[in-house]
């Protein structure tokens, strides 16, 4: 009797420990700290949202919509942080740089366009155009002093992304479009 109880409580303890350990992994991301900060606007879209959206019936004859739905199924998380404060910009940049190194993202392209410094980095999957993660950093200076950090995770093709930029108003969409064309 006692031994059974002991055995069970051991299991319970193990389960509890596992639960406690695993939660931070789900909840935490390198950029979570930017949420709710005074100068930073944050937008997070979770996988569940993409999953739900992909279940919406679309007109079978509408090719564009079909492609869009196909892409959405493959997305996991979208995070966008933007700020106009120079202090927050430094913080965003430092965190992004550290993250790029720790995850091992590769630079896809770099653009310097009218005072905006745009960097696009990716983590490739099985093939070159297959992407597991896309990170974009737009550093503004002068008049367009808006810095944007965007991270998109999932398992998608780089060439598909242009559909997304057409449908959603994602910052740096033009550059993303160019990037996917260059890669072709």
């Amino acid at each position: 009797m006692k031994s059974i109880f002991l055995k069970n409580s051991k299991k319970l303890l193990l389960a509890l420990a596992f639960l406690l350990l695993s939660t931070p992994f789900f909840a935490q991301s390198a950029f979570d700290k930017f949420e709710g900060q005074d100068d930073i606007t944050a937008l997070i879209v979770n996988r569940k949202m993409f999953e739900l959206m992909s279940k919406v019936k679309v007109d079978a004859t509408d090719k564009e919509a079909q492609r869009y739905m196909n892409l959405i199924k493959k997305l996991d998380n979208l995070r966008v942080f933007s700020t106009a404060s120079s202090k927050a910009t430094i913080d965003l940049k430092l965190t992004a740089d550290k993250y790029v190194k720790s995850v091992g993202l590769e630079e896809l392209m770099r653009v310097n366009d009218s005072g905006k410094n745009i960097k696009i980095l990716v983590k490739s999957g099985s093939s070159d155009s297959q992407i597991k993660e896309l990170l974009m950093f737009i550093e503004g200076s002068g008049k367009t002093n808006q810095t944007v950090l965007m991270s998109l995770t999932g398992d998608f093709d780089l060439n598909e992304i242009s559909i997304l930029t057409d449908k959603m108003k994602i910052p740096g969409g033009e550059e993303l479009k160019k990037a996917s064309k260059n890669n072709r």
Partner: protein
């Protein structure tokens, strides 16, 4: 002996889990009569729409939708402390894993999030939470039975062509002031 043991254990576990999971439902009930709060129920009749003008999809959508409950905390000079406490409470409740978060948005001065209960094709409840530093916070619960993404899209269409009965929304104006 063994059976008694397990029964006692089961009951304790039950009690613990009850206490640990304060639900939004409970929170709504507890605070409806609180002066700091504004509570509002909206029924589908607000849409004020002729049933026979609806397509089949829209009909199912409307049938899956039950009602909307709103609970809002109106921030004033006097209740700032209370606001902090209640806001933290609500955020804590929403952290429970049964509320699956779809998306959230935040700036320094305001925040919003959308979550739901259920699974993809059988959504029981949508929860919208929003706060603004100068106004307070609001929780909007959209209740229904087996709602899904398609229903939501159809519902949007219905809302667009309906003559929303503004009378039901009057209490909300108080908040905006």
């Amino acid at each position: 002996m063994k059976i008694t043991y397990s029964i006692v254990l089961a009951i304790t576990l039950l009690c613990v889990s009850c206490n640990k999971e304060p639900s939004l439902q409970k929170y709504f009930v507890e605070n409806t009569d609180n002066n700091n709060f504004l509570a509002l129920d909206i029924s589908p009749s607000i849409l004020n729409i002729a049933k026979d003008s609806l397509s089949e999809d829209q009909h199912t959508a409307l049938a899956s939708f039950d009602k909307i409950n709103i609970l809002a905390f109106k921030l004033t000079e006097e209740n700032k402390e209370q606001y902090e406490i209640e806001n933290t409470k609500v955020n804590q409740i929403l952290k429970d894993e049964k509320y699956q978060q779809l998306m959230k948005f935040s700036t320094g001065a305001s925040a919003a999030s959308v979550s739901f209960i259920g699974d993809d094709d059988h959504i029981d409840e949508f929860i919208l939470y929003t706060n603004r530093k100068e106004n307070g916070f609001a929780i909007i619960r959209v209740l229904g039975n087996d709602m899904n993404a398609n229903n939501i899209m159809s519902l949007m269409q219905i809302v667009q062509k309906s003559n929303v009965d503004m009378e039901q929304l009057k209490p909300l104006q108080q908040l905006m002031k």
